[in-house]
Symmetry: D4
């Protein structure tokens, strides 16, 4: 099993929109709007890391309102 945490900075004021969009995506086991230096955190889980990486690159990062992402890959999934 593979797990990836995606830390997202949104365009200002777009947190809710990004949050709703991510909730409906594949492999997403949890999404939260958060305080601190990031705006949204999403957790992706799938049976292979490359599935998640492709999906983030080709689908998630193209979602409206996302300005910057930092990817944390779980080594203990």
């Amino acid at each position: 099993m593979a797990r990836v945490y995606l830390l997202i900075k949104t365009e200002s004021g777009m947190e809710e929109k990004v949050y709703q969009a991510l909730k409906g995506l594949d492999y997403v086991s949890r999404v939260d709007i958060v305080t601190g230096p990031y705006d949204v955190i999403a957790i992706f889980e799938a049976d292979s890391l490359s599935k998640i990486e492709d999906y983030i690159l080709n689908k998630v990062r193209k979602s409206e309102g996302i300005r910057e992402t930092t990817t944390l890959i779980a080594l203990t999934a």
Copy 2:
């Protein structure tokens, strides 16, 4: 009582505008244009944390000229 410090990076040249807009908002006990890695700092105070969080999310972060925010929640308010 709840207190939140909002560290704001504005669009370049928009410090004064953001500063003036924040001064007029609810729960805002102080605003300053600052030097350093941030442009404006605002202090919010209310009787509940969720009031402040909702207000920041749905009102403040939608103000014109705000590019990025970092939220610091006071644990000793």
Copy 3:
């Protein structure tokens, strides 16, 4: 319900030790050693935010091997 994500930078080489220590703590629903700019991520869940905050301040941050933490409080828990 309250949820907090704790992004942890450990002393170099102490990831495994911090990971094992956090796994045994109260309110911890998940811990992972991760890649990227952080070393470990822990998710705390409890019926009140102040319980988690006190616990992080008085227990977690005093664990051996933790160098720096960034706290993300979920606004959509």
Copy 4:
């Protein structure tokens, strides 16, 4: 009047100690332990900026438990 916000990263587990030490210092109008990428925030106020700067440099930064500080000088004090 001059005002300076000091964002402090403490040695892990030393937040309470730094918080208590700062509360007793000159020119300090407020101190809070906070969540997010910093651990403590202190607000200094005095009739001149150089008084505050000297004090931070020669007194505050030598307090036990302080690892890193970021100084924000208010331009609208």
Copy 5:
């Protein structure tokens, strides 16, 4: 005498333009395009800090091509 170092991130590809614009400004004793996490550094010198701060806020930060600035005020000018 007051001295301020302004670390500037420009819009990508705008380094030369920002560099040329800053060279012609008041109080600027040196400007350089640089490598590393910033794109341009400018040093301002004047007989008072507030003159420089006002100028940066009302003139420099409104120059085209500037995305983000970090201000370092010299305590040993």
Copy 6:
């Protein structure tokens, strides 16, 4: 021989486009889309550092989709 590592943050969703564009450029010995706090990394090699620096400044940084770059110059090339 001179070697420079260019750490690139792209506009969200533009990783593939930037990656393809950089692959075709002069002096580029390797390009990768990556996880973590950056999106793309490119390695430049040439017989002189100034050749690479000029090229990055006048060609690479003007490529579409590049938001921010951090330059690491190899001291052991």
Copy 7:
């Protein structure tokens, strides 16, 4: 094939020592002391990502003089 870029901040003055130690390690295809916000960069290559991750976690991060690391996993290896 898997490739990982490791961005390393060393204890101050320990760059050369870390550089020499990393040069002799398994999977390391290149190491450089660099300028900018990091001190050393190392590139690891192996036939599987987990081999590299284990090695970084259990061997590299325990090397003397390493203070902080940021891992970038190549998605286009």
Copy 8:
């Protein structure tokens, strides 16, 4: 002519000591204790970049009290 700006984070409370030590070093045209996210900034000038880089690596970074440095090489020296 080559010019390098060195942004320095010192051990907390060691600013004055680092400042005095750097003032006496070769190639140093200016040093300042500063506010903001760094503690000291030093400007090095010499007839070749490699002279400055060697000196920073083998002499400056081994000075007592220096925790972290970020090197900005001037492309317009």
